[in-house]
C-alpha cells in the first residue's frame, strides 16, 4: 500500500491512535482492545495494526484475564435437540420402568411443548444397537449408535447435568447461543471475535457452516447483536458461492477483477489524499482483502487436496454438501487461524419415531466428529482447540405418543441434558454432573447455560464478567447476570 509511504498522513494517524489509547485507558469493557479500534468508528484498524476488520489483531496472552487453554473453538450445535438419553446418559432405571406412567411431578404443573396428557416413561430400546458400552480407559458409557465417538471417549468431558430456561426451539437456541432468550444479543462466536480478534487476515474470525435448513433463530444464532457487525458469523455455504457474492459476475474473470479493484483503489487513494479521512484507507484495504478472499476462500473450500486417508477417516466426498465435509472444513478453518467455527446440523427434533430416526442421524455425524477429534490430535491441534457439542435443550424421559408404538418420540426437555467438550484444556475422559435416575432433573453439579458459556470463555482466557459492552446505558455480557465457571472440568 502506498498509503504508508505518505509520511504526513502516518503522523496524523499516530495522533489519532494516541487518542484511542486514551480511551482504552478510561476502560470501556477493559479488554477488547482489538475491537476498540473498530468500535471507534475511525476504521483505523487497517492503518494501525496493518490488519483489517477481518484479520483483527488478537490480544496478547498477557492481556487476557487468564492464561488461555484454548486458542480456537469448533462448536457443533445439533439443531432440534438430539435425544441425549439414548446417546450419552445411560438410564437403566428408565428402561426398567419403560411403559409406566411417569411420576406426577414430571407432568403436573409442568410445561411441555407437545405432550398434553400424562405420558409414560420411555426407556432406550433394549436392542444391541442401542446398548451403552463402557469405553476406553475412562469407562464412560456411550451408546452403540456412536461407535466412532466411543473410540475417542477418553478425550471428552461430558456435562450430564446441563440445563436451560427455555423449551421452545428459537428462544432456547438464542438462550444457548447468546445467553438471552430474546433477539438482538451478540452470539457466543461474536463475543469471542470481539474479545480475541482473528489470526488470519484473509478470513473472518467467526465462520458458520450449516447442514440442512437454517435453525429457527435464523441469522440471529450467529448475529453480532449490538456489537460491531464485523463480529457477526459469516456463513460459508456449500451450495453456490461459499461466501455470498464471492465469485465474479459472468464475463468478468480474475484478471479483469484485479484491474477493477486497482482502479477503485487508485481513485479512492486520490480521495484519501484530498480528504484525509482514515475510513477511506480502511476501505482501500478491504478491497484488497476482498480480492484476496476470492482466492483464499475457494482454496479453503477445496477439500480435494486432502489425502485419501483423511477422506476415508471423515467419510467426506469433495463437492458434496454434508456434515462430514463441514467437519473437515472446520479443521481447515482452524488451521488457518479462524478463531471460532460453528457447525449447525438440522434434523434432531424427533417428536416421533426416535428409535427409527436416531440411528440415521447418528450415522451422519458419528464418524466425522470422531475423525475431527482424532485429526486435530494427530496434528497437535487438539490441545488448543476446544471442540463442543451442544443442543438447545434435551429430550424428555417420557415418550411422546404411544410408548408401545414404533413411532413413539420424545418431547423437548430443559431440566437436564448432556453437552460435551473435548480438547482445549478440558479433562480427558471425564464426566461432570449427574442427572437423576430417570434422567428428568439434575442430581449433581448442575451446569446452567450461563455456566456452560462462562466455562468456554474461561478456557479462552476470558473472564466472562469482564468482557462487556455498554449498550442502552448498561454493560452487557454473554452470561447476563449469571455464570459460574465449572472449574472441575478444567484439566
Amino acid at each position: 500500500m502506498s498509503l504508508h509511504k505518505n509520511q504526513q498522513l502516518s503522523q496524523d494517524l499516530t495522533l489519532t491512535r494516541r487518542h484511542l489509547f486514551q480511551r482504552i485507558g478510561s476502560g470501556v469493557g477493559g479488554i477488547a482492545l482489538a475491537s476498540l479500534f473498530r468500535e471507534s468508528g475511525l476504521g483505523l484498524s487497517a492503518s494501525l495494526a496493518d490488519s483489517s476488520a477481518l484479520g483483527q489483531p488478537g490480544l496478547d496472552i498477557a492481556q487476557r484475564h487468564f492464561a488461555p487453554r484454548a486458542k480456537n473453538v469448533i462448536y457443533i450445535h445439533m439443531v432440534g435437540a438430539p435425544s441425549h438419553l439414548d446417546l450419552f446418559d445411560y438410564k437403566p432405571e428408565l428402561q426398567k420402568r419403560n411403559g409406566q406412567l411417569c411420576p406426577d411431578e414430571f407432568f403436573k404443573g409442568k410445561q411441555l411443548a407437545f405432550i398434553r396428557q400424562q405420558p409414560s416413561l420411555l426407556g432406550t430400546p433394549s436392542k444391541k444397537e442401542f446398548a451403552f458400552t463402557r469405553c476406553g480407559q475412562s469407562g464412560i458409557r456411550i451408546s452403540n449408535l456412536l461407535p466412532h465417538l466411543q473410540q475417542v471417549a477418553d478425550e471428552i468431558t461430558f456435562n450430564r447435568a446441563t440445563f436451560t430456561d427455555q423449551f421452545n426451539h428459537a428462544p432456547a437456541q438464542m438462550m444457548m447461543l447468546s445467553g438471552f432468550q430474546r433477539f438482538g444479543r451478540p452470539s457466543i462466536g461474536s463475543w469471542t471475535s470481539y474479545g480475541l480478534g482473528s489470526e488470519n487476515k484473509n478470513l473472518p474470525s467467526f465462520v458458520v457452516l450449516v447442514t440442512g435448513q437454517v435453525l429457527g433463530a435464523g441469522n440471529s444464532a450467529w448475529g453480532s447483536g449490538f456489537l460491531p457487525t464485523v463480529h457477526q458469523g459469516v456463513e460459508f455455504r456449500s451450495k453456490g458461492d461459499p461466501v455470498l457474492f464471492l465469485s465474479n459476475p459472468n464475463g468478468i474473470e480474475a484478471e479483469a477483477r484485479k484491474r477493477t479493484v486497482d482502479a477503485i483503489n487508485e481513485l479512492n487513494q486520490r480521495q484519501l489524499l484530498n480528504l484525509q479521512d482514515p475510513e477511506i484507507a480502511t476501505r482501500i484495504d478491504q478491497y484488497e482483502l476482498a480480492y484476496r478472499m476470492q482466492s483464499s476462500v475457494p482454496e479453503l473450500m477445496e477439500i480435494e487436496s486432502e489425502s485419501k486417508q483423511t477422506h476415508a477417516m471423515y467419510g467426506t466426498t469433495p463437492g458434496k454438501s454434508s456434515f462430514a465435509n463441514n467437519c473437515l472444513l472446520a479443521r481447515r478453518l482452524v488451521e488457518r487461524g479462524v478463531r471460532f467455527v460453528q457447525l449447525f446440523d438440522q434434523g434432531w427434533d424427533m417428536h416421533n419415531s426416535v428409535a427409527n430416526r436416531l440411528p440415521t442421524k447418528c450415522k451422519q455425524v458419528d464418524r466425522p466428529i470422531a475423525a475431527l477429534i482424532n485429526d486435530l490430535k494427530q496434528r497437535g491441534m487438539l490441545d488448543d482447540t476446544l471442540v463442543i457439542w451442544s443442543s438447545e435443550f434435551g429430550r424428555t424421559p417420557m415418550g411422546q405418543g404411544d410408548v408401545k408404538a414404533a413411532n413413539v418420540g420424545r418431547d423437548h426437555h430443559k431440566e437436564a441434558f448432556t453437552t460435551w467438550m473435548a480438547g482445549g484444556g478440558v479433562k480427558k475422559g471425564f464426566v461432570y454432573g449427574k442427572s437423576d435416575e430417570l434422567g428428568y432433573g439434575v442430581a449433581e453439579d448442575p451446569m446452567h447455560v450461563h455456566d456452560f458459556n462462562a466455562t468456554i470463555m474461561h478456557l479462552l482466557g476470558i473472564d466472562h464478567e469482564q468482557l462487556t459492552f455498554k449498550y442502552q446505558g448498561r454493560p452487557y455480557r454473554l452470561t447476563d447476570i449469571g455464570g459460574v465457571v465449572a472449574e472441575k472440568i478444567i484439566a
Binding site: 468508528g41 475511525l42 429457527g216 457474492f245 487508485e266 480528504l275 419415531s353 446505558g473
Partner: protein
C-alpha cells in the same frame, strides 16, 4: 429467636445512644447520617449502583419496595424496615455491608434514632439528571456575526469550536453541497442536469429552493421512514421458528405518508401509540397503531400464549421507553433500575397501559399455533370491487355445476350400498407384480428386493419419472395398487427420499398401460383408463385422485404420516382381460413436485376383485347405511365423493382456483392495536416472570418525569397524550438527536438510545436543547428542523480534513468539518439504482423481492415462504419496500449493517468490511446497475460518441461533481484494457450483457457487435464507479 435477639440488641443500641449523649438533640442528617451512608453504603446503594433495588439518594428512594419485597426504612419504626436488622446482623448472608468493617454500635444507634425521629432527609436541590428536566431555550452564544453564521445552529457550533481554537471549515463545493443535501433529505442523488443548471448561477436563494424541492419530494418520506422503521422494529415476518410472512405494510406506507405530509411529530407519536382510541378514529389513525403490532410473535408448537403475550407487552413498554424517552426501561422488568430513577413498580404501571390487547397466538389445530390478533381490512377501489363481483358469479356457476355432477355421483351411492351389504364376500386379493424392468429419467440407481419392491437410491434429482414394466398373469385385472414403503436406507426411513425430517413424496400423475407378453416380441402398449382412486391416507389438498386427474401440478402426497407404509389403489374403468398366458403392464410414475419429493421404495400389485368399497372408511360406510343424514354427515359424504371421483375433484380444483383469485383480491389487511372490552389486571411480575405475579399495580408514569394530568383518560390514549405533553423533558430532545444522527453520522448525544445517567455527555448540550425547544415551538415540524439543519453552514462545510483537525477533533464530534460517512444499506441501493437510471419511483404497497442469491431463505417449520425475484419494475424499487424477513433479511443490506428488526434499533453500527466490497463488486443486483449505467451513458445523446465525455458523464452521475482529468485517465485506462479483452472474447461480452439484459428493456438487441464490446467495457468501468468510496459516502 434470631429476630428476638435482634430486637434486644436494637433496644440496647438506643440505650447506647442515650449514654453517648446523642439522645438529646435531633439528629442532623447531613452531619451525622450522610457520612455513614457515603462511606459504608453508597458504593452499592448510591448514585451509580442500586443493588437489590435500594439506594440512598433521596428519602423516597430509600423507602421504596426493594427487589426482595422488603422496605429498608419505615419512617418512625426502625424495627419494621430491614435496614437496621441488616446492619446489625452478623450472619454472612444477611449482614450489611457484606464485607469490610462492621458499623460501630454508635453508628447503628444514630441510624436507629434518626429513623425513630422520622428519617428526616432535607429536601435539597439534588440536581436531577439534566435530561429529566424540561429543556428551556438557551440564549445564543455571543459571536461576532459573519457570513459563516447562517443560522442559530452555527452559533452554537462555532462557539464550541472557538473554545478549542478552531472554526467552521469552508463550504463544500456547490455540486457537493447539492449532492449532500439531496442524499440527506431524499436518499437519492441530484440529477446531473439539475446540478449543471444550478452551477450556472448559484445563489443562497436558489440553494434554498433546491432544499425546498427536496423536502417536497415524495422521496423524502421514503428516505426518512427507514430510521423510524428500525426504531419501530417493522418487518414483514413473525420472527422465530418458521418466521412466516405477515401483512402490515400499510403501516410502513403510513409512516412514509405522514413524514411526507410533515405530520406534526407530537401527533405522529400520539397516533402510533393510541390512534385506535381517538374519538372517531380514521382508517389512517388505526393503521398508525401498527407501530406496536410489529412485535415478534412465536408460533412454535410449544409456545405458551400467555408467555408470548407478556413478552410482547415487555417489548412494547421497552420500545416506547427507547423510542420516545431515550430511556432503557428493560432493566426494571426484574428489579429497580440500577442507575436510573425508575422502579420496578413504575415499570409495571407503564406495563398496565399496554396490558389490554388480546392474545396474539391461537391454537388452530392439534398442536399448531397461528399468528393471530386484531387486523383490519384496508379500503379498496371500485375496479377491484367489480372484479370481485364477476369472480363471485363465476364461482357460483361452478358450484352449481358441481352440485349437478354430485347428484349423478350420489346416484351411484345406491349401488355402493348394495355392494356394502355383500362386502364380506369382497375380500380383496392382491397379487404382487413381478418387475421386468425399471428405469428413471433422472439418473437414480435402484435395487429390486425379494418382495418385488423397488428401492431407489443414488443421486437425488428434484423431479423424476419412474417407468416400470411388470409381468401380469391375472386373467382379469380390475385394479392396481401402489405401495409406498419404508426402508432403513431411506432418509428418516422414508417412504419419500427428499428429506430426513419430512420424507414426503408427491405422485403427480400415474399412467397405466397394458401390452402383450414380453415373449410375444410385440410392443403396442395401450393406456388403461383409471376411474377411481383410494388410499389409506392422503395429505390435505393432495388427495389420491389427483394422481389420475391429468394435471401434473396436482398429485397424491402423505405429509405428516411419514415413516410408515402407505398404499393407493386405482380402479380400471374397464377390467383388463389377458389375451394370452401372460401380459405386461407399464406404470409411469411422474413425480414433479421438485426438491426430491420422490418415492424411495414401492411395490406394485394387481387384483381381479371389485375394489369399489375399498377406500370407504368405516365412518363413511356407517353414514351410507343411515336412512337420513344430518349436515355434518352430508358434508363427510360429499368430501368422500369429491376425493374419489376425478370429475368432481376437477371441479373442486377449478372452484379452488377461483377462490384463490378472489382471495387475491381480498382487501389487504394490516395489524392494529385494539383494546379489549374488559381490561386485564396488572401485577408486578417478580423477577419479570409471568408465572410469578406479585402485588397488583394500577397504571401510572415514572415519578421523575413530568406529572400525570388528572384529566387524562386512564388508558393508552392518556399515556400517549402524556407523552406528547410539552412538559415532557425527553420526547423532543430524543427526536431531534435521532435526526441529527442521520444527518451527521453521530448524534449530539452519541448514545441516541440512552439519555440516562450512564450516558456520555452531549457534545453540544445547548444546541440540543435549542433544537428541542425549536421543534416544539414550530408546531413539532420535522421539515422545519431538517431545513434548519441543511441550511446551516455547519452542515454545508467541506468534509475535507487536515492534520490539525485530525488531531484536535479526530472524530468530528465538534463538527469542525462537514459530515462524511458511509450511507445506510438502503441508501446505497437507492443511490445506485438512481445513478444507473433503473430506479422505479412506484410508491407503497406490498413488499417486493428484488434479486437475491439462492438459498437465503431456508428455515424450518410450517408455511416457510419462498423467494420469487421480481422481473418487472418491482426489481428496481427502493430499499424501504424490500421484504424484511427477520430470520434472513436481504443479504446485501445485512452486509451493510442493516439490523434484523427483531428488536428496536436506534442507531445502526457502521462497519467497513471486505464483504461490503464483494457485495458491490459481484452482487448481481449491482452488476445489473453497472450495465444499466453504461447503457444509460451510451444512450445519453449529448455525450454520444466521445469516450472521455461518456466517462465523465458516468462519473458525474455517481459523485455529482465534475471529475478531474486524472480521474478520467484512470477510467480510460481501464476501459481500454477491458475493450481489448472483450474484443478478443465475444463470449465474455455475451456473458456480461445477456445476463443483465433485464435492465435495458429491448434496447440492447439493436446493438452491433462493436457497440456491444463498447457497452461491455463501459459496464466494467461503471462497476468501478458504483464501488467508489465517494459514491457510497455522503
Amino acid at each position: 429467636m434470631l429476630y428476638l435477639a435482634k430486637l434486644f440488641s436494637i433496644a440496647g443500641l438506643v440505650c447506647i445512644a442515650l449514654q453517648t449523649g446523642t439522645c438529646g438533640d435531633e439528629i442532623d442528617f447531613d452531619k451525622q447520617i450522610k457520612p455513614i451512608i457515603d462511606s459504608r453504603c453508597a458504593e452499592c446503594h448510591g448514585l451509580t449502583s442500586r443493588e437489590g433495588g435500594l439506594r440512598f439518594t433521596s428519602r423516597d428512594d430509600a423507602m421504596v419496595e426493594l427487589d426482595s419485597g422488603e422496605i429498608a426504612i419505615v419512617s418512625g419504626d426502625p424495627q419494621s424496615g430491614s435496614l437496621v436488622s441488616r446492619i446489625s446482623s452478623r450472619e454472612p448472608a444477611e449482614m450489611m455491608p457484606p464485607e469490610g468493617e462492621r458499623l460501630t454500635r454508635e453508628e447503628i444507634a444514630l441510624i436507629v434514632k434518626w429513623i425513630e425521629e422520622g428519617a428526616k432527609w432535607p429536601e435539597r436541590s439534588v440536581s436531577k439528571h439534566w435530561s429529566y428536566v424540561a429543556p428551556v431555550r438557551p440564549v445564543l452564544p455571543a459571536m461576532v456575526s459573519s457570513e459563516r453564521l447562517r443560522n442559530e445552529i452555527d452559533y452554537f457550533v462555532a462557539k464550541r469550536l472557538a473554545v478549542q481554537g478552531l472554526g467552521l471549515s469552508n463550504d463544500a463545493s456547490n455540486a457537493q453541497a447539492l449532492r449532500r443535501v439531496s442524499l440527506a433529505l431524499t436518499g437519492l442523488p441530484p440529477e446531473v442536469e439539475v446540478v449543471k443548471e444550478y452551477l450556472k448561477n448559484p445563489s443562497e436563494k436558489r440553494f434554498e429552493q433546491f432544499v425546498d424541492s427536496c423536502l417536497d419530494s415524495p422521496a423524502y418520506g421514503e428516505r426518512w421512514a427507514t430510521p423510524w422503521l428500525d426504531a419501530a422494529r417493522y418487518a414483514d415476518s413473525n420472527g422465530y421458528q418458521a418466521d412466516q410472512i405477515r401483512e402490515s405494510w400499510a403501516y410502513r406506507d403510513w409512516v412514509i405518508r405522514s413524514i411526507n405530509q410533515d405530520q406534526p411529530f407530537d401527533q405522529f407519536t400520539l397516533e402510533q401509540l393510541a390512534g385506535d382510541l381517538l374519538p372517531n378514529a380514521t382508517e389512517a389513525q388505526r393503521i398508525a397503531t401498527g407501530f406496536h403490532r410489529t412485535v415478534t410473535c412465536n408460533v412454535e408448537a410449544g409456545v405458551h400464549p400467555e408467555e408470548n403475550r407478556v413478552n410482547q407487552v415487555f417489548d412494547r413498554v421497552n420500545t416506547t421507553g427507547t423510542v420516545f424517552l431515550g430511556t432503557t426501561l428493560e432493566c426494571c422488568q426484574c428489579h429497580n433500575h440500577k442507575y436510573d430513577p425508575f422502579s420496578q413498580e413504575e415499570y409495571f404501571k407503564l406495563f398496565s397501559f399496554f396490558n389490554n390487547t388480546p392474545v396474539e397466538v391461537k391454537l388452530t389445530s392439534g398442536v399448531s399455533y397461528d399468528f393471530y390478533g386484531p387486523k383490519m381490512d384496508l379500503s379498496v377501489d371500485e375496479k377491484i370491487r367489480l372484479k370481485r363481483d364477476s369472480l363471485t358469479s363465476e364461482l357460483n356457476a361452478l358450484k352449481q355445476k358441481k352440485e349437478r355432477v354430485g347428484i349423478a355421483a350420489r346416484e351411484r351411492l345406491e349401488e355402493l350400498k348394495s355392494d356394502l351389504a355383500t362386502e364380506v364376500k369382497n375380500k380383496i386379493n392382491w397379487t404382487p407384480l413381478k418387475i421386468l424392468n425399471f428405469s428413471t429419467n433422472s439418473g437414480e440407481s435402484h435395487r429390486i428386493l425379494n418382495d418385488q419392491s423397488v428401492l431407489v437410491g443414488g443421486s437425488l434429482p428434484g423431479t423424476s419419472r419412474y417407468t416400470v414394466e411388470v409381468a401380469n398373469e391375472l386373467p382379469l385385472v380390475t385394479a392396481v395398487r401402489i405401495e409406498a414403503l419404508t426402508h432403513e436406507e431411506l432418509p428418516g426411513t422414508g417412504p419419500g427420499r427428499g428429506d430426513v425430517e419430512r420424507p414426503n413424496f408427491i405422485l403427480s400423475e400415474l399412467v397405466v398401460s397394458a401390452g402383450p407378453s414380453e415373449t410375444s416380441g410385440k410392443d403396442g402398449f395401450e393406456v388403461v383408463a383409471l376411474d377411481n382412486a383410494f388410499a389409506d391416507f392422503s395429505q390435505k389438498n393432495w388427495e389420491v385422485a389427483k394422481a389420475i386427474d391429468g394435471d401434473q401440478k396436482t398429485g397424491w402426497a402423505i405429509a405428516q404420516q411419514f415413516f410408515k407404509n402407505h398404499w393407493a389403489a386405482f380402479g380400471f374403468k374397464t377390467p383388463l382381460k389377458l389375451s394370452g398366458a401372460q401380459g405386461r403392464i407399464r406404470f409411469l410414475l411422474d413425480q414433479n413436485y421438485g426438491r426430491g419429493r420422490t418415492i424411495g421404495r414401492f411395490r406394485l400389485l394387481a387384483t381381479s376383485d371389485d375394489i369399489t368399497t375399498l377406500g370407504i372408511s368405516d365412518e363413511i360406510k356407517n353414514i351410507l347405511m343411515l336412512p337420513e343424514l344430518n349436515k355434518a354427515q352430508r358434508k363427510k359424504l360429499d368430501e368422500f365423493l369429491n376425493t374419489s371421483q376425478p370429475e368432481l375433484l376437477k371441479l373442486q380444483t377449478e372452484i379452488a382456483t377461483v377462490q384463490k383469485k378472489l382471495a387475491a383480491l381480498k382487501p389487504p389487511t394490516t395489524l392494529v392495536m385494539q383494546e379489549m372490552d374488559k381490561p386485564r389486571e396488572t401485577f408486578k411480575l417478580n423477577r419479570g416472570d409471568y408465572l410469578n405475579p406479585g402485588k397488583k399495580v394500577g397504571s401510572g408514569v415514572p415519578a421523575v418525569l413530568h406529572s400525570w394530568n388528572s384529566e387524562l383518560p386512564n388508558n393508552r390514549l392518556g399515556l400517549a397524550k402524556w407523552m406528547v405533553d410539552i412538559r415532557n423533558p425527553l420526547l423532543a430532545r430524543v427526536a431531534v438527536n435521532r435526526w441529527w444522527t442521520s444527518f451527521f453520522g453521530r448524534g449530539l448525544m452519541a448514545s441516541g438510545e440512552d439519555f440516562g445517567t450512564q450516558s456520555d455527555p452531549a457534545s453540544h448540550p445547548k444546541l440540543l436543547d435549542w433544537l428541542a425547544v425549536e421543534l416544539m415551538e414550530s408546531g413539532w415540524s420535522r421539515k422545519h428542523i431538517h431545513k434548519l439543519i441543511v441550511m446551516s453552514s455547519t452542515f454545508r462545510q467541506t468534509s475535507q480534513s487536515n492534520p490539525k483537525l485530525n488531531s484536535r477533533d479526530p472524530q468530528n464530534r465538534l463538527l469542525s468539518r462537514g459530515p462524511r460517512f458511509r450511507m445506510p444499506a438502503e441508501m446505497i441501493r437507492d443511490n445506485a439504482l438512481a445513478i444507473s437510471g433503473l430506479l422505479s419511483t412506484k410508491m407503497g404497497g406490498p413488499p417486493v423481492m428484488p434479486f437475491q442469491p439462492d438459498n437465503i431463505w431456508r428455515t424450518v417449520g410450517r408455511n416457510g415462504p419462498k423467494w420469487n425475484a421480481a422481473k418487472d419494475e418491482d426489481r428496481f424499487r427502493r430499499g424501504v419496500y424490500v421484504i424484511w424477513r427477520r430470520a434472513a433479511p436481504y443479504p446485501s443490506f445485512v452486509n451493510f449493517d442493516a439490523p434484523d428488526r427483531a428488536a428496536c434499533v436506534i442507531e445502526r453500527p457502521r462497519s467497513n468490511t471486505p464483504l461490503q466490497a464483494l457485495t458491490l463488486l459481484n452482487d448481481q443486483a449491482f452488476v445489473e446497475m453497472a450495465v444499466a449505467l453504461a447503457f444509460t451513458v451510451v444512450s445519453h445523446s449529448s455525450e454520444a460518441g466521445e469516450l472521455r465525455a461518456q466517462l465523465a458523464y458516468a462519473m458525474q452521475r455517481c459523485v455529482a461533481r465534475i471529475p478531474e482529468s486524472e480521474e478520467i485517465d484512470v477510467l480510460e485506462k481501464l476501459y481500454e484494457a477491458e475493450l481489448n479483452r472483450f474484443s478478443g472474447d465475444r463470449v465474455a461480452v455475451d456473458a456480461l450483457l445477456d445476463n443483465n439484459r433485464v435492465v435495458a428493456g429491448g434496447g440492447m438487441a439493436e446493438l452491433t457487435p462493436v457497440e456491444r464490446g463498447h457497452l461491455a467495457a463501459l459496464s466494467v468501468v461503471c462497476n468501478v464507479l458504483l464501488n467508489l468510496d465517494e459514491t457510497i459516502n455522503y
